[in-house]
């Protein structure tokens, strides 16, 4: 009996730039992901609570709830959830919010402008490290 077809990996994209989110959705869908979009941290958290994702892509600067607050909330709910941060910030070192520190892992920061291929590669390696089923 053949293995059942594995369900695609679920990615939550929290990004307030609708055009960037749309293009990512198109790209990742074509690469076999199920994509959920959220316009800010607040919506991201709501969508995650309703339908937990395997991976999260988030911007930092967003209205209502920013990326750091979203990451803090997600870490409370899922300590090992792989998170990919896309940001236009020049520097990530901001005191205790230093995203490169150990306490936020697993987390990867990519600087905008980001190549979708690099996003795909990063998601793939994050998924592998988290021992998620292959893409």
């Amino acid at each position: 009996m053949p293995d059942p077809v594995p369900a695609p990996l679920h990615v939550l994209v929290a990004e307030d730039e609708a055009l960037a989110a749309m293009a990512l959705e198109d790209f990742l869908s074509r690469k076999g992901f199920r994509v959920t979009l959220a316009q800010d941290g607040q919506e991201g958290l709501e969508r995650y609570s309703a339908d937990p994702a395997d991976l999260v892509i988030t911007d930092l600067r967003m209205p209502r709830m920013d990326g750091r607050a979203l990451i803090r909330e997600l870490r409370i709910r899922a300590a090992g959830l792989p998170i990919l941060v896309m940001t236009g910030f020049l520097s990530m070192e901001a005191g205790e919010d230093d995203l490169t520190s150990e306490r936020w892992q697993p987390l990867v920061v990519l600087r905008k402008p980001v190549s979708p291929q690099v996003i795909l590669d990063t998601l793939t390696s994050l998924a592998r490290a988290a021992k998620l089923r292959p893409v």
């Binding site: 730039e17 055009l19 960037a20 293009a23 990512l24 198109d26 790209f27 074509r30 600067r61 896309m86 940001t87 236009g88 910030f89 020049l90 520097s91 600087r111 905008k112 402008p113 980001v114 190549s115 979708p116 291929q117």
Partner: protein, 525 residues
Amino acid sequence: MFGGVEAFFDTSAYLPHGVCLFWRPEILTLHIVSDVLTGLSYYSIPVALLYFVLKRRDVAFTWVIWLFAAFILACGTTHFFSLWTLWYPDYAVEGIVKALTALVSVLTAVALWVQMPKALALPSATQLADANGALRREVEIRRQAELRYASFFNNLAEGLFVVTVLPDGAFAFDTLNPAHARATGIDPDTIRGRLVREAVPPDTAELVIERYSACVAAGGPIDYEETLDLPIGRRTWHTVLVPVRGEDGQVVQILGSSRDITDRKRLQEELVQTSKLATLGTLAAGMAHEMSQPLNIIRIWAENALSRLRDGDTDTARLDKVLTIMSEQAERMGRIIDHMRTFSRRDGATQRFDPAASVRSAVELVSNQFALENIEVVSDIPAIDCVTRGRPLQLEQVLVNLLSNARDAILEWRADPNGSPAAGRIAVGMRCDLTAGRAVITITDDGGGIDPDILPSIFDPFFTTKEVGKGSGLGLSIGYGIVDSMGGRIDAENVDHGNGSRGVRFTITVPVFHPSAQNVERAHA
């Protein structure tokens, strides 16, 4: 009694006067000699008088002298007639001569008395000598003063010049002092007495004539800065014009003094430019973040489209959409770059502009940066027609500088143990009161406020509370200078927002006028 004219002159009944003297030679001789000498003397006196009057045309009461001459002449004639009647008894004719003499004598006597008060009022020779002495002393004092002022004029470091206002309202150069000749490169001899519009190139003439006319119209001193192209090159001057009135109250001359402020202006501009670029530096992170957004969209769309193409998807409608998005995002980046470029540009001449546009622009420039630091910029800028005069970019610079200070204060206040971590709100407001002729721009923060002890010093050059390397201390003083040059003012006060929240409010007041008043104002100028 009267037997007609002939009978009157008939002498047949009379004896000559000599008969009464019995023709005694010694008596006759005495009369003859006396009358001849008296008569001749009397005749010589009017001649002398006439000679005097003719030579001294400035003598007062000339007509009295003429009358006096006639009187003496008549007296002399009576003496000669006395001689005549010694031998010929023409007593009727002699009587007529005496009557004429009497008439002239009476006229002369009356005239003398009538003219007496006026004659007495004439200054005496002593009085005249005294007056002359006083005048000489006065002239000497004036001459000394003139020498002193001429020495000032010729040796003062300040450029001085004199312009004559002709009766038809045209202006002519009178003179300029050596300092001004050196500073302008104009040779005083080449322009002296010449019409301004003919002595200097048309562009320069138009500029200076406008100022001279303004001085005449103002009727009092005026004071302004101007940039002129002169033989020595393009220089900027601080000029003061003072009108001089003639006896009829009309302005007949303009005294001018000019100081070359080109170097000072250049330094000031350098300072403004340096501070502007420094401000831009503090905004770099925000700019980078802002530009990364459209760039990110472009990259994702471009690579996604490429990936689709390589997978054999050649949907042209989709490609069209992708390229349109990319083009729009490139334009969005261009606008951000334009704003930075405009802000960092050197500002040109003063112009009329809407101060609200500068406020909006300044808020737009900083809000991204501030949002990164969780600082909210709330602005309430009404859309009204409001026009001021100055350099729009400089006003924007002042506002960006104040906003940056507010943000620094908030960041410090958050870190301060006595401060408030909740701080993070900057309110920008604007009111334009056309009736009062002023616009008021306020920037209020909740960054804890300024120590009242240092509040009076914050506009001083090089005054800073920031740690070494963080602030030049020039921002506020440059801002003060910019607003001052617009005829406005800038003030700072501490404000209490309630609930323990406090901060600073900076208030900029600039003069404004209704846009429709522009033409009127130009006509006045």
